[in-house]
């Protein structure tokens, strides 16, 4: 593909820029759709109709109106905050959400970067979310933000481990860390069938990692006002918002790829199947969010360390035993 006259470094650069633009466009569009979807889903679950009047069929332009409103809002800066950290936090929040997309395969060849160690890359990158929440909580110089950030620290740390353990079981069962290869192995049977425990652990942990109800302790509205992003407003706040929805999408897509057979499915093209599965899981996430109350911090830790972690360890042991005995 590379033209002969072009230097290799230039070609790599152009390719990288184009890929980045494509991924950012896809992610942003998806976040906008998800925000609208969340409004609609929550509305219909709560005897409301959700947005209708901002334009488009069923108020689909609500997200556009939201973005314009957020851009026009005052950019409030806490006076005594740690300014640099405070400024950087929203960008740091957005980066990992969007980096994960580089390794998600939408089809046999439809992937931005076909990493051999995709699984490890994902666990490494998603841990950065914690950093941004810490930065936001610390930089705001606000007690609510600080408590929210500390909660997020405890929470993300204790859910990262069961999640990683669930991924270990996946790697064991498929024998590869490459996401494309993992999907390829699910041609005849989705991984959710043998690895139902890993799926449950992964899904619960990912809901906890996303900071969504019932695990939205870091931004618990009833006690911490808005948690770590209390002091953010306007477009900075919306970066967190965007990051949250992108994370929702990536974790759902990841669950679909790892456990629900990725792009495999009859009739429709592969990417359509992946999107359908992803959006189905997104809907389940919204369903959970608008149904359940919030757990308390100690109950959250109990669930992570005393339940999910042992379950995922048992799952790894069982998978290993199966591999040794049967094969």
């Amino acid at each position: 593909m590379q033209p002969e006259w072009m230097a290799p470094w230039l070609w790599t650069l152009i390719l990288a820029v184009v890929k980045t633009i494509v991924v950012i466009a896809f992610v942003s569009l998806n976040a906008a759709v998800l925000i609208w979807l969340e409004r609609k889903v929550s509305g219909h679950m709560q005897n409301r109709v959700g947005p209708l009047r901002v334009g488009g069929p069923a108020g689909i332009l609500q997200s556009v109106a939201d973005i314009i409103k957020l851009l026009a809002k005052e950019d409030f800066v806490p006076q005594r905050g740690d300014r640099w950290i405070w400024w950087l936090a929203p960008s740091v929040a957005f980066a990992p959400a969007f980096l994960v997309f580089w390794v998600l395969p939408f089809g046999p060849h439809l992937v931005v970067e076909d990493f051999n160690v995709g699984l490890i890359f994902i666990t490494a990158v998603t841990s950065f979310t914690l950093l941004s929440i810490f930065m936001a909580g610390w930089g705001s110089n606000d007690k609510y933000s600080l408590i929210g950030a500390m909660r997020a620290g405890a929470q993300l740390f204790s859910y990262e481990i069961p999640m990683a353990m669930a991924l270990v079981a996946v790697a064991l069962a498929t024998g590869t860390l490459n996401l494309t290869a993992i999907v390829e192995k699910q041609r005849h049977m989705w991984l959710i069938v043998p690895q139902i425990l890993a799926f449950l652990v992964f899904y619960i942990s990912s809901v906890a990692e996303l900071n969504r109800t019932p695990f939205d302790l870091a931004e618990a509205e009833s006690e911490l006002v808005a948690g770590y992003h209390t002091e953010y407003s306007g477009i900075r706040w919306s970066m967190f918002f965007f990051a949250e929805y992108t994370n929702l999408l990536t974790s759902s897509a990841l669950a679909a790829i790892l456990f629900l057979g990725g792009w495999h499915g009859p009739w429709l093209p592969g990417w359509a199947w992946l999107l359908i599965k992803t959006y189905l899981l997104v809907f389940v996430g919204m369903w959970i969010r608008w149904t359940l109350p919030r757990v308390r911090i100690d109950q959250l830790m109990d669930l992570g360390w005393k339940f999910l972690l042992p379950v995922s360890l048992v799952n790894i042991a069982a998978t290993g035993l199966y591999l040794v005995v049967v094969r």
Binding site: Q46, I147, L217, E223, L292, P293, V295
Partner: protein, 394 residues
């Protein structure tokens, strides 16, 4: 005085820092207490309450409610008003269950002047009071759900409240602050069609809305673990603090003004007084959920016995003039015992009117309930006290 001793010796307070201990620990560097202002502007302080909270990480060392942001100089204002003027004003005291304050003022004046109510007025007063209790408990259900982080039940509660408010509007002309009870009876009568719609509403609520509440929140596992064993108020402590209403009954004391005193037609109605056992948040929630059903039972019985006749006593004097003396009357509101001490020197205006607001008394328990628990439990416990700031500050 047995109860007061029990407050200090209660095992819940053992092993938790006192503020002095916390300060000492801070000097030694083992604990760094964090003082945080919950309110007066905060998503879940139910109005303009400020709770000065001292935290050790997530653990509450001390919760000090600071009240007065909604103070309207209520009791002084009514001293310069005529008795019939006080009735609509009393609506604003507890704006989620306005009927009870109206009833209280009317009862006090009627008792002082010896006005006998007609039968229909008595029955209808009971109907309206119980409907208001139902509405108030629905609202409590919604706000408590919000306090523990579930947003959806709140909107279900609002949906069901809407029909009840429409009923109120049809009968009284207002949705929240009714000015419906008058000294000597009621402002106007209700139609048969209204009675039928009320029956429809009760059927709907009991068959459709209430089971939905139970499934959506009450039987939820997370709701259970968040409420069970949280904010425990033992029997003796509840009595010692003077708690009343669901707050007291959840601790296992079967005390209800509807049974203790004779007013309305409660003595002719067959209803249960639900009590709890442990006095935790779950018990308080259970008591309120059961009280909704009991209110429906009472309303149905009242509608069955609703006699024909006038709703305003013809013997009521044109000029309301209370003789010299003092009276204490009380009414069971959704939040507990509202008492009114009326002192009159004879004349058109009261000499003194002192309210005993149940929210005010119950709110005192907040510090006791939350000490040593997590900050999220503080909000939940505040939710089960079910305060109305209009009533706390007066």
């Amino acid at each position: 005085m047995k109860g007061v001793g029990a407050v200090a010796e209660h095992p819940k307070l053992q092993g938790v820092y006192s503020p002095e201990e916390a300060a000492q620990a801070a000097r030694e560097g083992t604990v760094e207490p964090l003082t945080i202002n919950l309110g007066p502007q905060h998503p879940s302080t139910h109005g303009v309450l400020r709770v000065i909270t001292t935290l050790d990480g997530e653990t509450v060392l001390k919760a000090d409610p600071d009240i007065g942001y909604l103070h309207r100089n209520w009791e002084k204002i009514v001293e310069s008003w005529h008795y019939p003027q006080i009735v609509p004003f009393s609506d604003r005291n507890d704006y989620l269950s306005a009927i009870f304050n109206e009833w209280l003022v009317c009862r006090a004046v009627e008792e002082a002047m010896g006005i006998e109510l007609t039968e229909r007025a008595q029955v209808l007063r009971t109907v309206f009071a119980e409907l208001n209790r139902l509405v108030s408990h629905q609202m409590w259900f919604g706000t408590y759900a919000m306090d523990i982080g579930a947003f959806t039940p709140f909107l279900y509660a609002l949906r069901d409240r809407e029909w009840a408010y429409d009923l109120f509007e049809k009968a009284t002309g207002a949705r929240q602050l009714y000015a419906y009870f008058r000294i000597g009876g009621l402002r106007n009568d209700v139609s048969d069609a209204w009675v039928q719609e009320l029956r429809d509403y009760l059927d709907y609520f009991e068959r459709e809305a209430y089971p939905a509440y139970m499934d959506l929140l009450y039987n939820n596992e997370i709701f259970r673990v968040r409420s069970e064993g949280v904010g425990v108020v033992p029997k003796e402590v509840a009595i010692a603090y003077g708690a009343s209403g669901p707050m007291l009954r959840a601790s296992g004391v079967r005390h209800d003004i509807r049974r203790v005193e004779r007013y309305g037609v409660y003595d002719r109605c067959d209803f249960d007084i639900p009590v709890g056992k442990n006095g935790d948040n779950l018990d308080r929630a259970t008591v309120r959920m059961k009280e909704m059903i009991e209110s429906i039972k009472i309303i149905r019985q009242c509608l069955d016995m609703l006699p024909e006749g006038e709703v305003f006593s013809p013997k009521t004097p044109r000029v309301i003039k209370v003789p010299e003396g003092d009276w204490y009357v009380r009414v069971e509101s959704p939040r507990g015992e509202i008492g009114l001490w009326l002192v009159s020197t004879g004349g058109l205006q009261p000499y003194r009117m002192k309210w005993r607001a149940p929210s005010f008394v119950n709110l005192q328990l907040l510090n006791y309930m939350t000490r040593g628990e997590k900050i999220a439990d503080l909000i939940a416990s505040l939710g089960t006290i079910d305060i109305i700031l209009g009533e706390v500050d007066r």
